[in-house]
């Protein structure tokens, strides 16, 4: 109880400090919460950016496609590498090594290849989401107790049955964790891609507002985008809970 009150108090203090700092400083640079609200209202009423729904929808679509591709490829590669010991031991570390490279280095190449449109954002979101999913599937498959598989086989279970009845439940926790991380990263990938250079989507709107020093609109757009990010994570956690209950 005390903790909840303190958390709220902290939030209030931060907002108050932001308000004071915003009012004291250059109105172009620092926008206090009181100035954000009218901008937010204008934004949501589609007065400042009538193209908002279209941009939002585009960003959502980019995320959707990027993630779907990442899941498909991640599951496929992860299982292939996990099931085949040799391939897993050979290529697994190579994938892990690529994780040591900041993903943004691939982006200029993607922009060169795919252009400034949605494709490069989808490609980047895919790249970011692919790795955690693959590595999670790989780890999950490795941690399945071989004894369980042996027992199932001894009772006459075929490969498919073994997969669905033994392997999947054993690794569900790791798998779902990886899927959730993958979603978060795909979302970040698409947003980063948009902000670093795009003509459409939320990132483009943000750049537009920032470029014209419309800081109030900029903050409002950021808030809407944040809502998208948080929303996707909440969705993922709900699905995670559903998957847990289903497996128990």
């Amino acid at each position: 109880m005390k903790v909840a009150v303190l958390r709220l108090a902290l939030l209030v203090v931060l907002l108050a400090a932001w308000e004071l700092a915003g009012r004291a400083a250059n109105p172009l640079l620092a926008v206090p919460p009181s100035a954000v609200l009218p901008s937010l209202r204008d934004l949501l009423l589609l007065r400042s950016y009538p193209g908002l729904p279209a941009s939002l929808w585009l960003t959502v679509q980019e995320i959707g496609v990027a993630y779907a591709l990442a899941v498909a490829a991640g599951l496929g590669c992860g299982f292939a590498l996990g099931m085949n010991r040799l391939l897993g031991r050979a290529w697994g570390p190579m994938i892990a090594a690529l994780y040591a490279v900041p993903a943004v280095v691939w982006y200029p190449s993607l922009m060169l290849f795919f252009g400034l449109g949605a494709a490069s954002k989808i490609a980047f979101g895919f790249l970011l989401g692919f790795f955690p999913i693959t590595l999670a599937v790989l780890a999950g498959v490795r941690q399945v107790n071989p004894q369980l598989v042996l027992v199932a086989r001894a009772y006459g279970a075929g490969v498919v049955t073994v997969f669905f009845r033994v392997m999947l439940p054993s690794m569900l926790f790791t798998l779902v964790g990886g899927l959730r991380t993958g979603l978060a990263l795909s979302v970040i990938g698409v947003i980063v891609g948009e902000i670093l250079g795009s003509k459409n989507g939320m990132g483009a709107l943000i750049n537009h507002a920032y470029g014209l020093l419309r800081t109030g609109d900029y903050v409002a757009l950021v808030l809407v985008t944040l809502l998208l990010v948080v929303g996707s994570d909440v969705l993922a956690s709900l699905l995670e809970h559903r998957a847990r209950r289903w497996s128990d």
Partner: protein, 247 residues
Amino acid sequence: MRRIALALQLATVLAGLALWELAARAGWVDPLFIPAPSAVARALAAISGPALAGLGDTLAKTAAAYVLSVVLGVSAGLAVGSVRLLRDVLSPYVIALYGMPKILVLPWIVLLLGYGTAPAVFYGTLHGLFPILVLVTGAVRDVDRTLVTVARSLGATPWQLYWKVLLPAIVPSVLAGMRLGIVFCLLGVLVVEMFAGVRGMGYMMGSLANGFQAPELFAATALVSATSIAIVLGLDQLNERLSRWRG
């Protein structure tokens, strides 16, 4: 098994490069977008001067951001981790900030700090700070209570408790955080260089992309990737050296 795996890795890389070279030369892929490895190698030699200068610039900013991240991350982690109330109150905020795409505030940071080095170091620090903070906080929280009791029974002062019990106990987590942190710092610096830079590899790669100079871009990308992998491998070695006691 291990040697076969290594051989397979080598074979994969060589076969991949060979296939790529073949594909480029045979015209299966447009060399404008996907240049042959040989072209990339030539380009690397050609741009080596400016590329190394750019790399040096990026690494300098990364180093500055890294030092700040480690210092801030470890001290904040120690403070938040050891005071239960602080930890409980702040944890949702920290988790939220950790997961938030920080690029959303980048335009505003550039607005405040301008172009060039300052926003890059600031943003790099912001990126690298969080994994270190989270890991150190967790480690402090999870320190074996018995060790603290033993030290107290032997008359340890609070200062001695921090220095001789807490700090050594959290070293593995600090090292893990530092390993994550370097990649995050480099990432942050590169992003800023691409968004609002005038120097450095990020800026260079962005310009090369705009100029459709594919071989040079691939060369630069390879250079940064190799550097990053080398740094992480180096840190891993250091980690191993310092963790003999863990087994």
